[in-house]
Structures are given as structure tokens and as C-alpha cells.
Symmetry: C2
Subunit: 461 residues, 2 copies
């Protein structure tokens, strides 16, 4: 019995049309990464289970895909005494699929510490896997796309990564807002209101300000045990108005007694001032106190990027961390990183119609096959077109004209070349424009000019 | 206790220098694929276990990496009654990592048969995983790089794929020999010598002709039970001399009584004749009767590519098959495909010194950091250089000159820019060429011209 083919839940096939769009996004990002001095690395899909376990919390441990040992792994297990899930898993599995790019990067830095030059600027674009319940927009396999620099505390990297976001989203013609916050400001707030132990609760509540409004935020803090006096002290912050500079003035007043809080304000001020002098090409930069992303690991700046004009969570995010590699025994490795949400960027570009014509990546010319003699003639022309870098094909059999034209239509091929007796005698190709149905007779050299952008052709890339 | 970081046996980290070289190879191949009308697809890393099992023989089944079910998978297993390896595996694992790109492609074609246009030309460059014993040059994770066309029996695709090999290896500046054989010729030989049931034994023996010589080949056939009369009949074939055309004349005589054999000869003749008319840019095409690659699944043409001037197995191979998708219930889907051996191509290019300078992909300019005022000035110049597509960086702190120059040296950055009081006043940058130590004073516009190939710069890409 033949199997009815399917793929595991939460995974995807990517068709050529989708792949070319995804490649377009990735190429823009890669180019920008390299322009800013970030270089690619790749790490194995599988890491030792011990490298990954315990790095993403208890929930994370469950969501890591474990790989069954090969060979007679089950011999190791004594069925009667060892039959307890956790113990058993560690005996039958020693490897797992990477869950993100950050832990493998940390492992890489430690393992290769003698070969890398600090500050080390790397980017990495590879799939990651999570044994999550599949649902709309959440996949069990998806690409992550990260740039990090480790080995420096310089705020110039904050400036650089904001410029990098600006560069990528400008090149993608996507209007973006880059939101900036700083973990130290959040710590300072908790400090001045005397609720340092409730930092997480407070920031989680503040994070909802946009969605649920001020009163509900206050209620939530109350239920978490934040005192009324403390909540009252928050009022000027939560009612803050104006642009980034004005908000920073308010923050400076509120945080006057908190050294860490003022440090955070100063860091944001420095970054915003430098960006103001340099200017951004198209993105907007804003200080957003409510941004509490990745509070568990970021220690300074926090970034989040949103696309304007669509409802679509964040399309990027990142932040600064004090200690990337401590868990692997290498101390004092601070850094900062950003990531791009490939799937969401794809959806935004699709929704806003921002993908450029990728026509030149598809086949541009189909030669109709009228028989062996004509096909042999076409093969020579084809050879010259391909040598000029033009994506082109010859239909493989002398099938009915209708079938061949149908093939061109379905593949969206813009030009069809017809070569019969006349064309072979004259050396002029009959070229049919599939968009408007017009036909012209041109020689090979002009055909190449028509299609090859380097020769002043009319394609869009 | 900090863990000593390591990666699973048979897997690899790729450093930036290696990644850029790998990317170079893949970009050359992708560009060629698209020039010939092949378009990219990607399939998930995980397939259902049932999609993969039984497709690669018993050995293959063992070498497939299985993924442990997530959640409480062990509850499904009754420890006392079910403790038998094979049964147990199927209960605790339902997914596995892809073993090659061919079976997922077959699955894709069947699953998407209503959306694809035949002939369907696709390429796919993704990692595959094999639970093989790791050893030198054999990895548990490695990239495969395949182009296939399905839905046609036309020999024009043989011609096309030979041209494609030629294009890729010409672009890589690698001298290649493309060896061509045909399964039908091998069948014909077995037929005319009356040993049809020993086809595999005979071809396996003939395959060793180069290495062990004629006498040993004959001995091996004898031990496999091939009759002396049959071996004698093989003599004219095994002693065949001359170029492809001359060999085909001999083959035609020997196979005169075998319909299938003559069909194979005719197919090779057609392909060789067409290529002779079209010419190849740099590769050499040869008929090689001893080529027995993939005899289990190829039904017509068989390809293998070797690099000249190095000892390094095949760097590519492929062939024609009658039935790609029957196993998934879709009959009559013939096709032909080729693959490129990325790791071996890398080694050949390295050994022969054929990698181009990839300098322009690394950072090209480092701005030395002399302090905040100077750094602010540099940031503006940097912004303009990056806008012009030049990979450039500013050192993040005003560290000692020696440290900053050391950074430039270790990263192989060819130009260092020094900006102090004088430079800020004059607007002329002091640019140090790290190769020869020379310094010059130029403005930003000239700096861009110096480095950006599009502006007539001196870089090599």
C-alpha cells in the first residue's frame, strides 16, 4: 500500500515562489550584517543534550527535541528498575536539536575562545526547533536570524545595531519603529518606589499599559502586593507624555535617588543623542518605558521593532547582556545582540505588497520545442543566453504548442522564443512577450540586452 | 560546575572564514541552477518516520536519526510487555531527521502534485543527517546540494545537466571530468554474455578495473560464479581503447544482439553528439563503462564528476530514474538529477588554491577610536561608507593604538582609518594600507571609490 504523504505537524515545505521571497529577505539581512562587520558562523543542528538542558527553564527543557541514540541504545536500559521518564530519557538520548541560536553561540565562543578576536561580531541564520504545540503562526521548525557582538560594553554597539535595523528595514522598504528601553531604568523604578523584589511583577504590569490602560495596570500591581504608596509614586512615569527627550527629563527627576536608574537614563540619552546626530534613513527610534522584553537575561539596553501600518507583534528584538558564557565557564563576556523575525517580516512584506518583482530569479525565457532540428538550434542560443546569466529553458519535447505555452504561463515565464525554419534561416528569433502578447524579431545579442540587467535590460533586480 | 563545551561527534562548527568560502561555493551553484531554470525548495528537517523508513535499505533504517516524541511518550510504553527495541522505537519516536534530499523531494512532489507544473525543475541545498560512525571526511551532519527535473524522459535534460556541471565547475575555476555511463549498457552486457542475474556482481567487478587491473577483475567475476565463457566475451569491452566515439563503436558491435544494450549506446551517443556540437566551457566529458554508481536506482544515464589534479573521489554524481514517487503512490514520474559534493569541492578548491579573494566579504575598513569626539566624527564617515556598501567598523573603545591595530590585523582588515584633530579640521582621512604600511590622505568620496567595486575600486569580487 502506498503511503499518503504528509509532514509532521508544525513543519513546512517551502515552494519555489516562497523560497525566492524568503531568500530575498535573508540576502538583504546578510548584506547589511556584513556591511556592519558581522560575519557568518554555523553551528551543528545537534548539540549535546547537556549543552542545552537547563538553559531555557523547565518549560524549555520539555520543548527541546531530543534525538534517540543510535545503535543498541535500549540495552543500556534495565526495563524493570529504570522505568522512570526522566532517567530513561537521559539514557536513550544524548543529543538534541538546537532550541535557539544564543546558547550554541555561547558554547561556540567558549569552545573557540583562542581563535576568535574580541570584540567578536557574528551573525547566524539557521533553523531552530521547538516541541511546542503547533498553532497558527507558531512552528516547530523556523529560522532564527541573529547578530551579536561579544566582548565589549561600549554603547557604540547600541548605536550600531539601531543603524543596522534601520539599514535592513530601509532596504526592505518597510517602515519600522525601533523601541528602546533599559533594564537599569526598570530596576531604578522598582528601587525608588521601594519594591525592588517586585521588579518583574511591576514591569510585567507596565508592559500592558498600551493594551489595558492605566487603571487596570494599577489594579494588577495591587493584586501582586505592590503598596498603594508605591503605585502613587509611579503616577508621573505612567502619565509621561512627549518625545523621547522630554520623557528622559521626567525619568531623570523620578529616578534622582537611584544610581542604577540614572545610569539607565544616561545610557538611553547617549544612544538617542548619537542617533539624532547621525540620522536614520527611514526607521523611527523611540524610548518606550513599557518595553520589558527578555527581562530575565538582558541587563542594559532592550530593543524591539514593530512594523508600521500592520497588526503584527514585533518583527525584531534584542538587548544587552552582561554574561553570555558564564554557564560554560568563561566569565566576563558581555555583549549585545539583535534578531530579525523572518516569518513575520515575510508576512508584513506580503500584506503591504512590499516584495519587489523577483521575476529575474525565475525562468525568464522559454524556447518552444518544434522538433529535433529546431531544438538543436535553440540549444546554441540557450547556451549563449545562459552564459550571459539569463535564466532560460528549452521545452524538453516537441509537444503541442498549447502544452508548451501552458508550461510558460504556469511558471510565469515572461518571454517565449519561437524558432522555426524562417528563424533558423534569418538568424532572428521570434520573441513573444507573454504579458501583452506582442511579438518581435530580434537577434541573440539584442535578446541578451533585453533581458540582462547588466546590459541595460528591463528587469527589476 | 561549568561544563566543558563540546559538540557531538561527527558534527562541525563553521567559523566565519570557512563560512564565507562555503557560501561562495553555494552561491556559484545556486546562480548556475537558476540560470538553467531550476528553482529552490526547502523541506522540513523532520519527516514522519514512516516517510523515511524502508527507503534506504536495512542499513539506512539504522542510520536514520530518530527524534524522541515530546510529552509523556513513555506512558504509551508498557515496560514489561513491550520491551523490544524495534517495537519500542516506533512507540517513542514518530519523526526523524532527513537522510537525503531525494526521498523528501519525492514526498514533496506527491504531496504538491496539484500545484507543480511538469517537468518540475527544482534545486535543494540543505543539511542531511546520518547516524554513521564518524570518521575522517565522513560527518553525521552535512549539506547536500541537488538539482532534479521530474516528469520527463527527454535526453535534453542529460545534455542540460552536463552543461550545468560544466557551468558550475568553470565558474569555480575547477578542471573537471564528467564521466557518463548508462545502466542499459550494463544490462546489455550481462545479457549478451548470458549472465543477466549477475549484473550487480559484474558491474561491481568492472567498477574496479582502474584500481585492480584486468586480471583481478576477471578473478573476482570467477569467484562470483560468472562463467569462463562469459568472461571471455567481456574481453573486447574490458580492453576497449580510444575516445568516447571509438568506444561506442566497439560497444555497438559487442551489444549487437541486445536491444536494451543498443538503446543505452544510442542514448550516450545522442548526448555526446549534442555536447560535441555545443561545446563545453572547461569540463571534459567521457564515456566510462566502469561507472556503476547508484545502480540500484538509476535506470538510464549515470554521471560522476572528478576533479583533475587531485586525489579526491567524486565531487558530484547523478543519474536518471524511471520512478521517483511510486513508493508514495504516484506512478510514472521519471526524472534525472545531479548532486554536488560541497565538502569535497571545498577541499579541492583549498588544495588547488582556487578560492578567489573573498576580502570584500570581510571587514574592509577599521576606524581607529581616539576618543569620543573623534569617534563621533568617524561615525558619520562610517555611515556614508556603509551606505555605499563598504563593510566597515569603528573600534568600540579608545583603547591603546596597539590593541586596535592588533584587532585589524587579526581580522585581516586591509585598511585602517585614523582620524584625529588634523583630519577633522581638513576633512581628509588618514588611510593606512595594512598590506604595505603606506599611508595616504583622502576624502570620503575617494575612500568610497577606493573600496567599492561598483565605483571602480580595487577589490577582487
Amino acid at each position: 500500500m502506498a503511503q499518503k504523504p504528509s509532514i509532521p505537524k508544525g513543519t513546512r515545505d517551502f515552494s519555489p515562489a516562497v523560497m525566492l521571497k524568503r531568500n530575498y529577505i535573508m540576502e538583504v539581512i546578510k548584506k547589511a550584517f556584513q556591511t556592519f562587520g558581522y560575519l557568518p558562523i554555523e553551528t551543528p543542528s545537534m548539540e549535546n543534550l547537556s549543552t542545552l538542558m537547563g538553559k531555557y527553564g523547565e518549560e524549555g527543557d520539555r520543548l527541546i527535541f531530543k534525538i534517540l541514540n543510535s545503535g543498541d541504545f535500549l540495552k543500556k536500559v534495565d526495563a524493570n528498575s529504570d522505568f522512570e521518564a526522566k532517567k530513561m530519557t537521559s539514557k536513550i538520548s544524548e543529543k538534541a536539536l538546537r532550541y535557539d541560536l544564543t546558547v550554541p553561540f555561547a558554547r561556540y565562543v567558549v569552545q573557540n575562545q583562542n581563535d576568535i578576536t574580541l570584540p567578536f561580531k557574528r551573525y547566524q541564520i539557521q533553523p531552530v526547533w521547538r516541541a511546542d504545540r503547533p498553532q497558527k503562526g507558531r512552528f516547530r521548525e523556523f529560522y532564527q536570524c541573529d547578530a551579536d557582538v561579544v566582548g565589549s560594553r561600549s554603547l557604540l554597539y547600541e548605536v550600531e545595531l539601531i543603524q543596522l535595523y534601520d539599514k535592513v528595514f530601509t532596504d526592505l522598504r518597510l517602515s519600522a519603529i525601533i523601541k528602546l528601553n533599559n533594564r537599569k531604568i526598570l530596576s531604578g523604578i522598582a528601587e525608588v518606589i521601594g519594591e525592588e523584589d517586585k521588579l518583574i511583577d511591576i514591569t510585567v504590569a507596565i508592559d500592558k499599559l498600551d493594551k489595558i490602560g492605566l487603571e487596570k495596570v494599577k489594579e494588577e500591581m495591587q493584586t501582586k502586593g505592590v503598596s498603594d504608596a508605591a503605585i502613587e509614586k509611579l503616577d508621573p512615569i505612567l502619565n509621561m507624555k512627549g518625545d523621547a527627550s522630554q520623557k528622559l527629563v521626567t525619568m531623570r527627576e523620578v529616578l534622582a535617588t537611584s544610581a542604577i536608574g540614572l545610569e539607565g537614563v544616561q545610557e538611553i540619552q547617549t544612544v538617542i543623542d548619537k542617533i539624532a546626530v547621525l540620522g536614520l534613513e527611514s526607521a523611527e527610534l523611540d524610548f518606550d518605558l513599557t518595553l520589558a522584553r527578555g527581562l530575565n537575561y538582558y541587563t542594559g539596553s532592550i530593543f524591539e521593532v514593530q512594523a508600521k501600518g500592520v497588526q503584527m507583534g514585533s518583527i525584531g528584538g534584542g538587548g544587552r547582556y552582561d554574561d553570555l558564557t558564564g554557564i560554560f565557564g568563561l566569565k566576563d563576556m558581555p555583549g549585545i545582540g539583535i534578531s530579525f523575525g523572518l516569518d513575520r517580516i515575510y508576512l508584513v512584506l506580503e500584506e503591504l505588497g512590499l516584495f519587489p518583482s523577483l521575476e529575474a530569479d525565475f525562468t525568464q525565457v522559454l524556447f518552444v520545442n518544434f522538433g529535433e532540428k529546431e531544438a538543436d538550434y535553440c540549444l546554441k542560443v540557450l547556451r549563449d543566453l545562459r552564459k550571459a546569466g539569463i535564466n532560460s529553458e528549452l521545452y524538453p519535447d516537441p509537444a503541442k504548442m498549447k502544452k508548451q505555452m501552458n508550461y510558460a504561463n504556469k511558471k510565469g515565464i515572461p518571454y517565449v522564443v519561437l524558432v522555426g525554419e524562417d528563424e533558423m534561416n534569418s538568424g532572428l528569433l521570434t520573441v513573444k512577450n507573454m504579458d501583452d502578447g506582442s511579438q518581435s524579431n530580434i537577434n541573440v545579442v539584442d535578446m541578451i540586452k533585453l533581458l540582462n540587467p547588466k546590459n541595460g535590460g528591463d528587469t527589476n533586480t
